[in-house]
Structure formats: structure tokens, C-alpha cells
Amino acid sequence: MTTNAINPSTAAPRFEDLPGLMGLMTGDEKHGPAATSTLDALWVLYDRVLRVTPATAEAQDRDRFLLSKGHGPMAYYAVLAAKGFIDPEVLPSFGAYDSPLGHHPDRTLIPGVEIASGSLGHGLPLGVGTALGLRAQGLTDPAVWVLVGDAEFDEGSNHEAVAFAGAYGLERLHVVVIDNSSATHGWQGGIAARFAAEGWSAETVDGRDHEALHAACTAAHPGRPRVVVARVEPKNS
């Protein structure tokens, strides 16, 4: 186990540091595609897209990131540790009785975590309400980002949120779908088409390509919510 992968106080964190941080939770630096399906998108968001830092984690005008797919949160915790939200020394406690780091995240236990998740299909409706709440307070600048999985998209609550947000033109709402082809019955015609049909701005990119992710996550989408479908290796490949 490598424990000297990163020292946020003296060096800018790098993507290459993340496997070491994940290793603090799993005891293994080698992780399969399923454990890291979200890793690249999370990194690009926290490194280059989201306007939130540990210092602004409670600021009302911060960008919000809602991890809806709460399963397999090691990549999320690793990114939060790399960015200074979580002390890396806490990572080895992952899943322990007194640890703030559960196998599903709890917003009341971890600074910077916007929602408690684990049961699928809750992040997008919460994201809709968050975007509405910010708008109602005149906060038109902060962006709301929700990360969901392609199998999570089975849950009907997502479809309630997608249809409403599209019809409402909820421009500050953004979704990243990590598509590792894990939905049992698949999505004929692709997931992006589901969003596009409801009026969203939609793009599908290589979920391991940081430049493509960054471009897709920063593209303009006036008057419409935005979805970026990040395709990665199939879960069972």
C-alpha cells in the first residue's frame, strides 16, 4: 500500500495520485473498471469545471455536485481527498463504525458532500429542487451537477426529473451519466436521446478522455439543461 501518494499542502494534486488514495480505502492500488468508472469524470469536474473548494464548501453561490450514484464511492472520496475536502488520513477508515466514509456517502458526515445517496434515483430530483431553489433566490450563476449511472437511469424518478427539467428550461442543471453498459435491458438508441427528446442539450463523449469531458462539460447550452453521457468500458468486460 502506498501512503505517500499525495501531500496536498505542498504539491498540486494530480490525476495520477488518485489510485494511491483509493488504495488507502481498498488496500489495493489496482482497481477494475467498475470501481473507477466515475474516476475520470469526477476528476475533470473537480479539477476544471466545478467552482467549489474546501473554503467555499458552505458558500451559497458555490457550484453543487450531487453524487446520485452513491455505490462505489471510493473514486469520489479519493477526488475529495485530493482536492482537500477530506483529510487523506481518514481514508483507511472507509466503512468502519466511526468513519465518516460509508459505502454510500452521507452529507451530514463529510464536508463538501452535497447529498446522502445510495438508493438510486434520488440525486436528479434533488438536483432539480436545488437548481430551482438557487434560481428562486436570484442565484443564477451557480451550476448544479448530478452524476448518475446508466443502470441507475432505470429508476422512474429520473424520468420524472428529466422531463420536468427539460420542459422548465432549467439551464443551471447539468447531468453526467456514467455509461458502462450496466443497465440490464440497455437503452435502445442511447441515453442521450432520452434527454434530448425532453429538450436537453445532450452530448456523448469518451468517459476516459479528459479533454473531451472538459469540452462537453463547459459547452454553452442557453435556456436548456445539459447532459454529458460519458461512455466507459462495459462493466463486465
Binding site: 430530483p125 434533488l126 432539480v128 434560481r135 433566490q137 426529473a161
Partner: protein, 297 residues
């Protein structure tokens, strides 16, 4: 006669005007009645359509940004259908909302079982921290709605019914009110059940307590009303026995008896009217008198 639900329309419009933290989330039900409020406050009156999971999820998101959401639809679709959203998007997130229901247990008997939710309060009893108001008159509904909106970030359920009492009781949120004093036991009437309970106990030597707030349960109020005769009859306009455990806990240190009356668990496959259903459930004044008198004498 004005209904509690109609008063809710007026009070909520007023709250929206007065408090920039208040937001209203609807799922089509009652949306037309809030058209004027929506025009004044387009960003804080939100109709999500017939999407009740989103109704509660969006309320949770609004609360996460610091607003005080009020979510409203029929009880069946506010508590039962999106129950996991109530559990996770409000309670587990550590945020609060005011849920205001209509139709309750038997308000639209001709609508049948799909629009009956006698188990709503019992369901909320499985979750921590809920305040539950069950007003019996539009004036009480107004008092409790205003109290709920200003009740910090607590989770509050306000159960509005088309069944109501002729006169309002001057209620204090969270406290039982003594309506009649006697020495032969206590009958606790909840919300719309008060008129029938008063008629049923006419001439009987019993104390009648009135509850427009059932959670938290005013255990001290119940104990203070009991005197030497620790016999309690609960008369609730929802699932029979919903508050029985609260009554037993309140009296855990002394021998006591509890008779818990309310809407039966069994499906009742009849249509018709509210009075017909109350009679069928044994909750009309004549049935209540017989059941109460048998238990207390």
C-alpha cells in the same frame, strides 16, 4: 362552508407574499387554486406535473438551498406513493419541509381505495422527527399552517380534511386541549372527530381532550387529564391504533387501559358519502357512544 383546504390556499398565498424563504411545490392537484400566487411568485410556486417522486425530491432540493418548501397533494400521493423520498430526500438529508395533504382517509368515498390514505400518520411514525398536525376546522388549519411554516427547518405534516367540526378550538400547537371535564376516564378526539365525540359522550362523566397536533404526542397533557381513572379512548380519523403506542408509552408507569378507535385496516369496498363511511367504520356519534360506554362502564 369554507374547507380547510380552501383556507390553505389563502394562507399559503399570504405566506409566499410575506416570507421569501417559503416555496410551494405542487403535483397538479390544487394548481389552479394557486394560479394568482404563481403569477406573483413564478420562481417559488412550482408545479412539477403528475410526478410525486419529483414533488418530494424537489422539495428536498429546495430545502438544501435554504428555502422552506411546502409540498401539497392528496395524502395517498404525498406520503404513501413517494414514501422513500420522504424518508431519504427530507429526513436522511437532514432537511425539512411542510407536507400538506388533502383527502386523507375517507374524504372522497366515491373515489374508492386509490384515494384513501388512512395509513399516512402511521407511516410517518416509522421516521424520526415528524410533527403531525390534524386540524379539525379552517381556523385551526390556519394557526397550524402558519406555525408549521415558521417551525424552523422541522419536518411537519399538516393533514387537511373535508370532514370538519362546526366550531374551532383555540389550539396551541403541540398541546392537547381540555374540552370537557369528567372523572370516568379520558376520550381523546383527534381533529375532525371532535364533534362526533362530543355528541357521543353527552351526559357521560368523562374528560374529553382534543388533539389538533398528534406528534409529538402530548403525553404530559394526557397524564394530567387522567386523574384516578387511567382509562383512555383514542378516536382518530385515520388508521385505528395509530396513537395507541404513544398512549401506552405516556402511561407506562401505571396500570392502564387503552381503546383505540379509528379507520379499520380492512379495505372497505363501498363508495357513497363521508357520513356513510364514518358509520361503517363505527366512528359516527351513535357507534362511538356504544363503544366508549362499553369500554368505560
Amino acid at each position: 362552508m369554507e374547507t380547510m383546504r380552501e383556507r390553505f390556499f389563502d394562507v399559503t398565498a399570504d405566506l409566499l407574499d410575506a416570507d421569501p424563504r417559503v416555496a410551494l411545490v405542487l403535483a397538479d392537484i390544487s394548481a389552479a387554486s394557486f394560479a394568482a400566487a404563481a403569477e406573483r411568485h413564478p420562481d417559488r410556486v412550482i408545479n412539477v406535473g403528475i410526478r410525486e417522486q419529483l414533488l418530494i425530491g424537489a422539495a428536498g432540493g429546495l430545502a438544501l438551498t435554504g428555502l422552506r418548501p411546502i409540498a401539497h397533494t392528496f395524502a395517498s400521493f404525498l406520503v404513501e406513493r413517494p414514501f422513500e423520498q420522504v424518508k431519504l430526500d427530507l429526513v436522511h438529508q437532514g432537511v425539512g419541509a411542510v407536507l400538506v395533504s388533502a383527502a386523507g382517509s375517507y374524504d372522497w368515498p366515491a373515489g374508492g381505495r386509490t384515494h384513501m390514505s388512512p395509513g399516512d400518520v402511521a407511516l410517518l411514525d416509522t421516521l424520526p422527527g415528524w410533527t403531525v398536525h390534524v386540524p379539525g376546522h379552517p381556523d385551526e388549519a390556519e394557526t397550524l399552517l402558519r406555525h408549521a411554516a415558521a417551525d424552523g427547518d422541522r419536518n411537519v405534516y399538516v393533514r387537511l380534511s373535508a370532514h370538519q367540526n362546526a366550531e374551532a378550538v383555540p389550539v396551541e400547537p403541540g398541546r392537547f386541549t381540555t374540552v370537557r371535564r369528567g372523572s370516568g376516564g379520558v376520550v381523546l378526539a383527534v381533529g375532525p372527530m371532535l364533534d362526533a365525540v362530543l355528541a357521543a359522550t353527552e351526559g357521560l362523566d368523562v374528560t374529553v381532550l382534543y388533539a389538533a397536533t398528534v406528534r409529538p404526542f402530548d403525553a404530559a397533557g394526557l397524564r394530567a387529564a387522567l386523574g384516578d381513572r387511567p382509562d383512555v379512548v383514542l378516536v382518530e380519523p385515520y388508521l385505528a391504533g395509530t396513537s395507541a403506542n404513544e398512549a401506552h408509552e405516556a402511561l407506562a408507569d401505571r396500570p392502564h387501559r387503552v381503546l383505540a378507535l379509528g379507520v379499520p385496516r380492512e379495505e372497505h369496498r363501498h363508495y357513497g358519502s363521508i357520513p356513510e363511511h364514518l358509520a361503517a367504520y363505527g366512528l359516527d356519534a351513535a357507534s362511538l357512544r356504544e363503544r366508549i360506554a362499553t369500554f368505560l362502564w
